[in-house]
């Protein structure tokens, strides 16, 4: 497989909390994901996993480095600062970039003032310019796919955590993305609801979706993951085939982490 869908080169990200307190969240990270691949990212909290995802879709633009996705390369440097029309063109490219890259969040981030159906239909209407009826038809399809079409008229506050996360997955899928990013999608769920959401993610992977999954679910990582990355302190410490790394980690830091959580 040489058909890469996304490539990140030399990503560095700093968070500034005042002058003296600078946090280097991502250090010289390189990453390539092949089409159809499921890449699992594990590591202790604060290791840069979520930051990595946010750098890939430029929610948190990396200070250095580039992300190439579907033939389009974004860097922080090529953001035009003063030329207004160039800036608008850049933002248009960035929006297109993001429509092709779905993201599922730990805390769902559903729009609380919209029904489940409208949560899913909103971006197809407002961003892709679909007609309302087409977007609703697509939204119903996506809600059916994740098994909660019966909750289409419910508001997020009326749904359980597991149902919310399914709506969030449907919302991302409705844009028909090429790549899905999952940021600890099951970490905020009640234990008994985790399995159902992981099942949806597994179905998606089996359907051929390219996915980058930040997770603490080692069972899922072993079963569904093709490749695995272990991160600590903003570095990629170790990577390889998911089963191999989990069964026989090469680095002491990886062993330590896996011992602690298993």
């Amino acid at each position: 497989m040489t058909d890469s869908i996304i490539e990140a080169r030399g990503l560095n990200k700093w968070f500034h909390r005042g002058h003296a307190n600078e946090h280097h969240a991502l250090r010289d990270v390189d990453l390539t994901v092949q089409k159809g691949e499921v890449l699992v990212v594990i590591g202790p909290s604060g290791s840069g996993k979520s930051t990595l995802l946010r750098c890939l879709n430029f929610l948190a633009p990396p200070e250095t480095g580039s992300v190439t996705f579907l033939g389009l390369t974004l860097t922080r440097e090529n953001l035009p600062r003063f030329d207004v029309s160039a800036r608008l063109a850049y933002e248009k490219r960035l929006r297109h970039f993001r429509t092709q890259m779905g993201m599922v969040f730990q805390h769902f981030n559903l729009f609380p003032h919209m029904t489940a159906l409208d949560n899913v239909a909103a971006a197809p209407v407002r961003v892709l310019g679909m007609s309302r009826s087409d977007a609703r038809a697509r939204a119903v399809e996506e809600l059916e796919r994740v098994g909660i079409a019966d909750k289409a008229k419910s508001y997020p506050s009326q749904l359980s955590g597991g149902q919310k996360q399914r709506v969030a997955i449907a919302r991302a899928l409705a844009m028909q993305p090429q790549l899905m990013l999952f940021d600890e999608a099951t970490s905020a769920l009640d234990p008994e609801l985790i399995g159902g959401v992981l099942e949806e993610m597994k179905k998606l992977a089996e359907g051929g979706m390219t996915m980058i999954v930040v997770t603490h679910e080692m069972g899922f990582a072993r079963e569904v993951g093709d490749r695995l990355i272990f991160m600590d302190g903003g570095h990629i410490i170790e990577q390889g085939a998911a089963r191999d790394v989990l069964a026989d980690p090469q680095k002491e830091r990886t062993r330590e982490f896996l011992r602690a959580i298993l």
Binding site: N109, H113, A123, V127, S157
Partner: protein, 225 residues
């Protein structure tokens, strides 16, 4: 020594027609000030969050200046001060609406700003991750949530507008309080008339509060459960 106060509740009967008329003017000028202050306040709030430092600073100064002094001073400054200096002749009612608008727009700008700041940052992220630009995200995702947060404070501000509108009677408007003052000097029954007018203001405030409760329930019915 005590001087017996001669109550003359009977004056309220002939006075009430004029008081109704004054009430209508009070409601009209309060409503006009509300709409203008809501609009101007939103503009100021957006400027306050501009990415350009100069624009931000200007909005900040606007807010600080118009919150610093009392309505009483602004009414006199606009009606006598500006009118005299620049030669613009505003009617008392217009001057009153302008004063109420600028003062309250500064407060409303701050209400908007804190409401927009109170929307979960995850909402911005979710909208951006779906490809919403800033303007569309604001219109579709952020502002509907911010409005729900802001409504109680905006209603309080409207109550303040209605109450403060009595102050502009100082420049001779025929609003509820202006009418009352004239009736008081005509009938010489201050206790009776001021008591009655207090009930007028109280009723208006209670009606607004009731409407506000209804509005809040409606806006948040899917958030409560």
């Amino acid at each position: 020594m005590t001087v017996a106060y001669a109550f003359q509740w009977s004056v309220l009967r002939p006075a009430i027609g004029e008081l109704w008329h004054g009430l209508r003017i009070t409601l009209e000028l309060s409503a006009a000030s509300l709409v203008l202050a809501l609009t101007l306040g939103l503009v100021v709030a957006l400027l306050r969050m501009s990415s350009l430092r100069v624009v931000r600073a200007a909005a900040y100064v606007y807010i600080q200046v118009f919150r610093a002094l009392s309505l009483y001073i602004y009414v006199l400054w606009i009606y006598f001060g500006i009118a005299g200096a620049v030669g613009i002749n505003l009617s008392p009612l217009t001057a009153g609406v302008v004063a109420l608008t600028v003062l309250n727009s500064a407060y409303m700008a701050e209400i908007y700003r804190s409401a927009l700041g109170a929307v979960d940052p995850g909402q911005h992220e979710a909208a951006a991750s779906l490809g919403f630009g800033r303007v569309r995200a604001f219109a579709t995702v952020i502002s509907p949530q911010a409005i729900r947060i802001a409504v109680p404070s905006l209603v309080n501000q409207f109550v303040d507008i209605v109450k403060d509108s009595s102050i502009i009677a100082i420049i001779g408007t025929s609003d509820l309080f202006g009418v009352t003052n004239r009736l008081v000097s005509y009938y010489r029954a201050p206790f009776e008339l001021y008591t009655l007018v207090a009930f007028f203001y109280l009723s208006v405030v209670l009606v607004i509060s009731a409407l506000a409760t209804f509005l809040e329930r409606r806006l948040q019915r899917h958030l409560l459960l």
